[in-house]
């Protein structure tokens, strides 16, 4: 029997699925990307370092912030630039905003419709207009953090190597800080809805990978840690993983020692849950989830917990920036630097997991070689392994109904929140 899904709706980008069940055994479970070859890594070759964040932001319309900032981090690591602490604060705020908007979009518009028998996020929003208003506002809160600091939500403008082109309006930041309580309430409500839908029972332990440091849940610096391997630097990690190609589609799959692994919210919860902010930790405790959690559908719970964590985090970061910026101007904050022959790797936790950009530069700061490894490239092999087990073990009646199988497959794929545009960068 074949399960073929031409277009998986409500995910970022174009992909299909092909599954084969032969004599009750799963012979194949493959995600087929349908994006054209985009060749971002080679688009950068021969260009100036300062074009890299601008161009790589265009890899993804849902997570441009993280591509831009990871790109900048790689450049700064190469040139030996140590950004001002307040530059890092603003970047972390942007990352928080990015993940709040991405997770809210995913959970509310793309996932919940699965559990409430609605075809679309818009239909779902029209069914429950009051909830929709609150969650749209929550997503908008994340977007506005990005906009106030970055100048624009999609493909921000102000972040650059060594700092910013312009510092944000402190009055607008103070206003954001005042909006924390209502957004916290919305975030808790979203968690409440997600944790009350009957998430399928499923368990398959895998290798969970995320960045980790001694300070926070979502570190700006840190080592790449996994539940099965030792922790290592980003430079070493990208040499450890192997990207395999499929012959006929322009997407890759990254593996560690030939095995799939998982990055993203569930991995972060499994590795870093002890460092969650207070309210997020309390909410997680209330749910009685055993950590580490081996149910991939709980990625959605992990995302909802992260929204709460990030709203607390945004408050801390906003207050920190507002109390320390005082009379400091852009010239005091931005680093002076010179390009040089160098190699640098940048890693950051994107909404969907750890993102890596690596560049080599010549003396003038022209890009000589590049490597970009996106979260979806890393999680997709794990998703396919999960799908095989899920198709084999999930509870069903005696008759196999193809439409039901398709729905089940899409439910798991959506729980992962794959980003196919990032996967085919």
């Amino acid at each position: 029997m074949r399960i073929v899904i031409d277009h998986i709706a409500r995910i970022e980008g174009h992909a299909g699925f092909i599954g084969k069940i032969v004599n009750g055994k799963i012979a194949e479970a493959k995600i087929e990307t349908q994006e054209g070859a985009r060749l971002f890594e080679s688009l950068l070759i021969g260009r100036h370092y300062f074009d890299a964040p601008v161009i790589t932001a265009r890899i993804c319309g849902v997570c441009p912030v993280i591509h831009m900032l990871t790109s900048i981090k790689a450049i700064e690591n190469a040139f030996g630039i140590d950004p001002h602490p307040l530059t890092v604060t603003l970047r972390q705020l942007m990352l928080a905003g990015q993940t709040i908007q991405s997770h809210t979009l995913h959970l509310y518009f793309l996932v919940l419709a699965d559990y409430f028998n609605a075809d679309s996020g818009i239909e779902f929003a029209q069914k429950y207009p009051e909830d929709a208003k609150e969650f749209l506002a929550l997503r908008d809160f994340g977007n506005r953090i990005v906009e106030i600091i970055g100048g624009r939500t999609i493909h921000p403008l102000t972040p650059k190597t060594g700092g910013f082109t312009k510092l944000p309006d402190t009055k607008k930041l103070a206003k954001l800080s005042a909006e924390i309580p209502q957004n916290m309430a919305a975030a808790k409500k979203l968690l409440n809805i997600i944790s009350n839908v009957p998430l399928p029972e499923f368990s398959r332990s895998t290798n969970y990978v995320a960045m980790r440091d001694n300070i926070g849940y979502l570190p700006y610096e840190g080592l790449i840690c996994s539940t099965q391997n030792h922790s290592m630097s980003a430079e070493k990690f990208i040499k450890t993983i192997r990207e395999t190609e499929t012959i006929h589609t322009p997407s890759k799959r990254a593996k560690i020692h030939s095995k799939g692994y998982l990055v993203g919210a569930l991995s972060r919860i499994n590795l870093n849950s002890k460092k969650l902010n207070q309210e997020a930790a309390i909410e997680l405790k209330k749910l009685n989830v055993t950590i580490p959690c081996f149910n991939s559908f709980y990625n959605n719970i992990a995302q909802a917990i992260e929204i709460i964590h990030l709203i607390e985090e945004a408050k801390v970061l906003l207050d920190e920036y507002l109390s320390e910026i005082n009379d400091l101007g852009i010239n005091e904050i931005n680093n002076q630097f010179k390009p040089k022959t160098s190699y640098g790797v940048g890693a950051l936790e994107a909404p969907r997991g750890t993102l890596f950009h690596a560049y080599k530069f010549n003396r003038e700061g022209l890009i000589v070689s590049t490597n970009i490894i996106t979260p979806t490239v890393q999680s997709i092999a794990n998703l396919e392994e999960d799908l095989k087990v899920w198709l084999k073990t999930r509870e069903r009646g005696s008759q196999i109904n193809i439409e039901e199988e398709k729905k089940a497959v899409m439910k798991l794929i959506r729980a992962y929140d794959p980003c196919i545009t990032c996967a085919t960068h």
């Binding site: 054209g36 265009r58 818009i122 977007n143 006929h248």
Partner: protein
Amino acid sequence: MPKLKTAIISLTCCEGCQFAILDLGAKLLKVAEFLDLDNFRLGSSHKSTGPYDVIFMEGTPITDENISVLIKARKQTKILVALGACADLGGVAEIKNYSKIGRGKMMSYVYKNIEGINNPKIKPISAYVKVDGKIPGCPIDKDEFVRFAQELIAGKIYKIPDIPVCYECQLKENNCLLQEGKPCFGPVTLGGCGAICPSNNFICEACRGPIREKNLPSLKKIIGKRLSAKEMMKIAEIHGVKDELERTNQD
């Protein structure tokens, strides 16, 4: 009044323009009152078929499938709108047209073992089909999308006034980046974006395409004091606008 049956379709791209529409939030629900967003793949698993009154097309045609989707869309709709720089100009993907190492080598740099994958020269959608209107930019200005939608209801296709970015930039009383010696494309680029880039102290990279009466030689002269024309035009490669800028002005 019956709603306009509308589809938003993506070819190969970042889908940021579709997200810009989604970012309208509550305003999107307002737009949905007069546009029947029947095929909004990102927000829906409902599969629909034409014919349509309007199709907004984002992205660059790269695969054979992209091209056939585009041609089919043209046949299915009364009005076809290019949504964003990828559809309008070619977008970031067009950088490969200008690369010295060549498309084949660029492909093998990223994918060592791939077979039978399309890697065509990048062209805007207007090179394949007739296009009735455009909402330019990388990404689009979401309020311009609303304005476009409102005009559609009135039976009109919104045409952006042929005024350069500099005009809006001056109204905002920004410091002139060109006068600071930076390679800003504001004088030759179609406004309507509120000069969002220079307002954030970031040069205009011409993502909205050229104005009709552009004067590129004059801009080259101004920028030429600091930067060679070749270096300057490398910036215009980013959104795929270099070829449009270098084309002679048409009446």
